[in-house]
């Protein structure tokens, strides 16, 4: 005799668990980036390759979680937040992992030398980017608690503050990127043109991470909007 329990099938797994699981993996991807740039400064090619490979593996892991998640989002399910927003959120998280992977690919495919005059700026930017990413992850970890209080009240105030902080940090990172681009411009003539091109590209990619963290904040804002 099978279970005729409509009750057992009514409750589906919370969509927030896979989103959080995905974000944890994405965070681990980004956390490797500072070490990657350290290795570049030390010109430790072996270490660069190892770190890039690790980022690649984590990115595939994140991809897998995302794919399974998307397969389990049927239309006739009542989610605590809009299905569309959940799908968009995991997409934004995934872009962060993709971006980290692209950075890893560029620095393994080309032997990029870090010009001394931008070293400090670059490490600072990378550190701040890792920070904003872990803030975004902390925001995602709040989803369970938000669910407990129905996406309102004090818990949503707390998350709303976290979102504001992410937005502020993203704004600051934009300034850092501006400074870094300026510093790069001033030494442009001393570098190989193609290298310069790739440095701008790398800086762009690093900036993409904080942009996506901000987008995640915007998306989360929709969850708690009344």
């Amino acid at each position: 005799m099978k279970t005729t329990s409509p009750f057992a099938n009514l409750l589906r797994q919370s969509p927030f668990k896979p989103v959080q699981q995905h974000m944890r993996v994405v965070s681990r991807c980004v956390e490797e980036i500072p070490a990657l740039f350290d290795a570049m400064i030390k010109k430790d090619q072996k270490q660069i390759d190892a770190l890039a490979a690790k980022i690649g593996e984590l990115e595939s892991e994140a991809d897998q979680i995302k794919n399974v998640f998307r397969l389990h989002m049927p239309k006739r399910v009542l989610f605590a937040v809009a299905r569309r927003d959940l799908l968009a959120l995991i997409q934004q998280q995934d872009i962060i992992a993709d971006t980290a992977e692209k950075i890893g690919q560029i620095v393994t495919q080309r032997d990029m030398e870090v010009p001394e005059s931008i070293e400090e700026h670059l490490l600072n930017l990378v550190q701040r980017t890792t920070d904003i990413c872990s803030q975004a992850a902390a925001m995602i970890e709040q989803l369970d608690e938000l669910l407990a209080v129905g996406f309102g009240g004090k818990q949503s105030d707390l998350v709303s503050e976290m979102i504001t902080k992410v937005k502020r940090d993203e704004h600051n990172i934009d300034f850092l990127i501006g400074d870094l681009n300026r510093a790069l411009f001033s030494i442009e003539d001393q570098l190989k043109p193609v290298s310069v091109m790739f440095w701008y590209k790398l800086i762009d990619l690093i900036g993409e991470i904080s942009n996506q963290a901000e987008n995640m904040g915007d998306r989360l804002m929709l969850f708690i909007a009344r």
Binding site: K2, S5, P6, F7, A8, N9, L11, V77, V149, G152
Partner: protein
């Protein structure tokens, strides 16, 4: 008349067997659903759930099960046209029991979410149409019953929505969730005892020669509620409070406060289930016993003997022990998303709704009301994802069950009639 005089004992024995068969099916599915919530929350083990079910199912059936039994037995059809042929009603009730039980078996094997209540009502109506005539069916009463099937899950949903909102306001969305949880928990447990006992006692214990006044019922219910609240307080007072914890971390501790509280809702669910669903099996059995016992009196003036309620309870327990425990495990495993605080609200809402329906004599579906209550939690944005296809399936099997039960009852009715004459 002669048929009853000759085959009376055989008819009663058949009715008992079919009644046991039917209640066995009820226990295997319906009750298991109701108890699975508490098992899933970790409030009780499967063994404890069976123990609770045995005690409170009986209590529910004996103390509050009479009204629905009356409805099933003689509330939905009028046997006056066949006063001179009481055996027709006996065959009809036997056929209805068998039809409902067999339909339940088929549906269970196929995994359709049918309700035992809908099956038996459909079966009795089906028999009445061919056995007595369409005019014998009390259509106004049927409309009321069908209407209650739509309304009761909605009522369960509204109550659980309000309860969930209240737990947020009083406990979760405050600066000290754990402290407030411990403060208000005894009050919630009080509510469980108060509501269930008030509905049961309010002019409802006539069969025990206990007729309480309004004031007396309220006073007794407050006393009973206070007692349960006190026992609840004993259970939760030892949940450790780390007041310095971050609010966020306190949520886990709040759930720990609610876990033992689900023991009380498990009891109330079993009680509510006993008060409503036992009747599905024993209503027709009571009718047969009454007709045969009185030598062919179809109007059944005899009161409901307690031993019939006991048979119903026994059948349900048997179903729970033989198959229901597996259903409980499955349900328990699948509904981990329903944390104790949410499960408590859903169960309290469902149990209250069912008991109110029982008191009014309306046969409702415990499972559907529980589904409604869980949807209420979902509408309060308290659950991550609810599969609404289940609701559609319920509606479909709801529509199919009435004619299916009816047609099978017609078939069994003619078979039995042919066998005995």
């Amino acid at each position: 008349m002669e048929i009853i005089a000759v085959y009376g004992t055989a008819m009663v024995v058949m009715a008992m067997i079919f009644g046991l068969f039917m209640t066995w099916g009820v226990g295997a599915n319906d009750l298991a659903n109701a108890m699975g919530t508490s098992v899933g929350a970790g409030a009780v083990t499967v063994k404890q759930a069976i123990g609770i079910a045995i005690i409170f199912e009986f209590l529910g059936a004996v103390l509050a099960g009479g009204h629905v039994t009356q409805t099933i037995r003689k509330g939905i059809i009028d046997p006056t046209p066949i006063i001179s042929h009481p055996e027709i009603l006996v065959f009809g009730m036997l056929a209805s029991l068998l039809a409902a039980a067999v339909w339940l078996m088929i549906a269970s094997a196929k995994g359709w979410p049918v309700s035992t209540t809908h099956s038996i009502v459909g079966a009795i109506v089906g028999f009445a149409i061919v056995g007595i005539g369409p005019e014998a069916v009390k259509w106004d009463k049927i409309i009321k019953v069908v209407f209650s099937w739509i309304i009761s899950p909605a009522v369960g949903g509204v109550i659980s929505f309000i309860l969930v909102m209240s737990t947020r306001k009083l406990i979760l969305d405050t600066d000290t969730p754990l402290k407030n949880a411990k403060k208000y928990a005894p009050f919630y447990v009080f509510l469980v005892g108060f509501i269930i006992s008030l509905v049961t006692m309010f002019k409802g214990l006539k069969q025990l020669n206990l007729d309480l006044s309004i004031g007396g019922s309220i006073f007794a219910a407050i006393c009973f509620g206070a007692l349960t609240g006190f026992i609840g307080w004993l259970f939760i007072r030892n949940v450790e409070a780390h007041e310095d914890d971050d609010r966020t971390f306190q949520f886990a501790s709040v759930e720990k406060v609610f876990t033992p509280m689900m023991l009380f809702t498990a009891c109330s669910m079993a009680f509510a289930h006993g008060s409503n669903d036992v009747a599905n099996g024993i209503g027709p059995l009571a009718a047969v016993v009454s007709i045969v016992g009185s030598g062919g009196e179809v109007l059944q003036k005899a009161p409901l003997p307690i031993w019939i309620l006991l048979i119903g309870g026994a059948g349900i327990i048997l179903g729970l022990i033989t198959l229901g425990y597996r259903v409980m495990l499955t349900v328990g495993k699948k509904i981990t998303e329903l944390t104790p605080s949410r499960g408590f609200c859903a169960e309290l809402a469902a149990a209250s709704t069912v008991v109110i329906a029982s008191r009014t004599g309306l046969p409702v579906s415990t499972t559907h009301i529980l589904v409604g209550a869980v949807l209420g939690v979902g509408l309060a944005r308290g659950l991550g994802a609810l599969d609404l296809r289940v609701v559609l399936n319920i509606i479909i099997s709801w529509v199919v069950t009435l004619p299916a039960g009816g047609i099978m009852a017609m078939f069994f009715y003619f078979t039995l009639k042919g066998l005995f004459s």
